[in-house]
């Protein structure tokens, strides 16, 4: 055996031709778990490793295929990949080149639905606090739906029956197929650009999950979220929940129900108006009756019937005051008198004349009382006061 020497490149190229020449490896379906998943930020290619309990294989999905996927592969996700095996010659690495993949178990659409729902929820697009109030009495109702389906007829019927006052501004769009999402997004933007409606109904009649898919697309959801005009979503039947329903300010189970939620009922409104009218009449009658009672109570008072009565009342007051005054005066005089006699009694008790009555006497010289014999000379004249009169005496002698 005399084998020729070949280069690495030649070897890899040879192996590649063998693998690629194998029919069995050209269009294969491989089931495995995604790991080491990378969404290359620049190229948009997906790189991953598919593995099962015992084994693993490198895999790549180029951007042209990757961007057609409706869901985003995640580590740990079981998938079925369709593709071919080939060799990356630079590294001598054989790998699975994926053309398409499906989540294993759940369908791709339902995985995509869950993924988008979770992502938008975490961004706050379903937040109840951000939902706009639906106007009670809109002048213009905007309708974005197919011109051919049953939905538009149902909506127009209900709007016309309940509240024909509201103008219907209709924007026909495709509601399924490749153009649908773009048309719906544009319609929402056009309504907002000129504020052509007070409330929008966006929706369509029932269909399969594929038919309703437009209403699960991210850009439709974002357009609904960005709308300044409140949006009522009405997609399919009562059991269908689309992403659009979660983002909308109000979800209606069907297009007819959306129309009912968009406008008030004319009959109820008329009842309300008549109630208001009746309360107007009642309130005014009550008011007039109240005022009448006030006037009546005023004119019926004693003041109006006999004004003299009031003068009499005042006169009585004056009389009673005069009487009170004289009583107080008398009492005052009596009090003063008794105080005076009390004082006189006390004064009397203290009088020196009382002492004289008991036999004592007072000697005065020039009308001032003498307290010592030194104040007089022999021969001086003094007065001696007794209880009943004065004695004029001469000093004959002094003795100590």
């Amino acid at each position: 055996m005399n084998s020729p020497v070949i280069t690495v490149t030649q070897l890899n190229s040879y192996l590649k031709s063998i693998i690629e020449g194998d029919e069995n490896l050209r269009n294969i379906y491989v089931c495995g778990e995604v790991s080491n998943f990378t969404n290359h930020y620049r190229t948009g290619h997906f790189y991953m490793v598919l593995k099962d309990a015992e084994s693993s294989i490198k895999a790549v999905m180029f951007r042209s295929n990757a961007q057609r996927l409706r869901f985003m592969p995640e580590n740990g996700m079981m998938i079925i990949a369709r593709g071919r095996i080939s060799i990356f010659e630079r590294d001598g690495q054989y790998q699975l080149y994926i053309d398409d993949m499906q989540p294993y178990g759940a369908g791709a659409l339902s995985v995509a639905y869950e993924q988008l729902k979770n992502r938008l929820a975490s961004e706050g697009l379903f937040d109840e606090k951000l939902k706009k109030a639906i106007p009670v009495c809109p002048s213009r109702v905007g309708v974005i739906t197919s011109p051919t389906g049953a939905a538009i007829h149902d909506i127009l019927n209900v709007l016309g029956r309940r509240f024909p006052l509201a103008e219907v501004i209709f924007c026909p769009v495709e509601v399924q197929g490749v153009n649908a999402a773009q048309q719906i997004v544009e319609a929402i933007e056009r309504f907002n650009a000129g504020r052509y409606a007070d409330v929008l109904i966006v929706g369509r009649g029932g269909g399969s999950i594929e038919d309703l898919w437009t209403f699960n697309e991210e850009r439709v959801a974002r357009a609904v979220f960005s709308s300044d005009i409140p949006i009522i979503s009405a997609v399919g039947h009562e059991t269908d929940f689309t992403i659009c329903d979660f983002v909308a300010d109000l979800r209606a189970p069907t297009p007819s129900a959306a129309a009912e939620l968009a406008v008030p009922n004319r009959v109820v409104l008329m009842e309300h108006i008549n109630q208001l009218k009746n309360s107007l009449i009642n309130i005014l009658n009550l008011e007039i009756e109240k005022k009448r009672t006030v006037i009546k109570s005023l004119t019926g008072s004693k003041f109006f019937s006999s004004p003299i009565y009031y003068i009499d009342v005042k006169r009585q007051t004056v009389d009673s005051l005069v009487e009170k005054m004289s009583v107080y005066m008398k009492r005052e005089v009596n009090e003063k008198q008794s105080i005076l006699s009390l004082l006189c009694g006390k004064l009397h008790a203290l009088s020196p004349l009382k002492v004289l009555a008991r036999g004592y006497s007072l000697t005065l010289k020039n009308n001032s009382a003498l307290c010592s014999i030194k104040e007089v000379e022999i021969g001086d004249e003094v007065d001696v006061m007794l209880s009943d009169g004065l004695l004029n005496c001469s000093i004959l002698s002094k003795a100590e």
């Binding site: 024909p164 409104l269 208001l276 009449i281 309130i283 005014l284 008011e287």
Partner: protein, 73 residues
């Protein structure tokens, strides 16, 4: 009654509600009450005639956009 024609149903209904609330609160001079009452009954009449006579009007969005475009020129 003529000035009411220019108003929309929504404005009239809102004004009617307002008048009834005002009157319910009381403390309004009687001549003003009478004026409000007169206005209120006219509004009620207007609202009812709106609801009685309304015909559904359907306009395509493109018509409104064309109107706006013309108005701008």
């Amino acid at each position: 009654m003529i000035y009411l024609k220019k108003q929309t149903f929504e404005q009239s209904a809102a004004r009617l509600e307002e008048i009834v609330k005002k009157l319910e609160m009381g403390n309004i001079p009687i001549d003003e009450s009478l004026k409000l009452f007169e206005e209120g009954t006219k509004l009620a009449e207007f609202c009812n005639s709106c609801l009685d006579n309304a015909q559904q009007k359907i306009i395509e969005l493109t018509e409104l956009e064309a109107e706006d475009a013309n108005a701008e020129q």
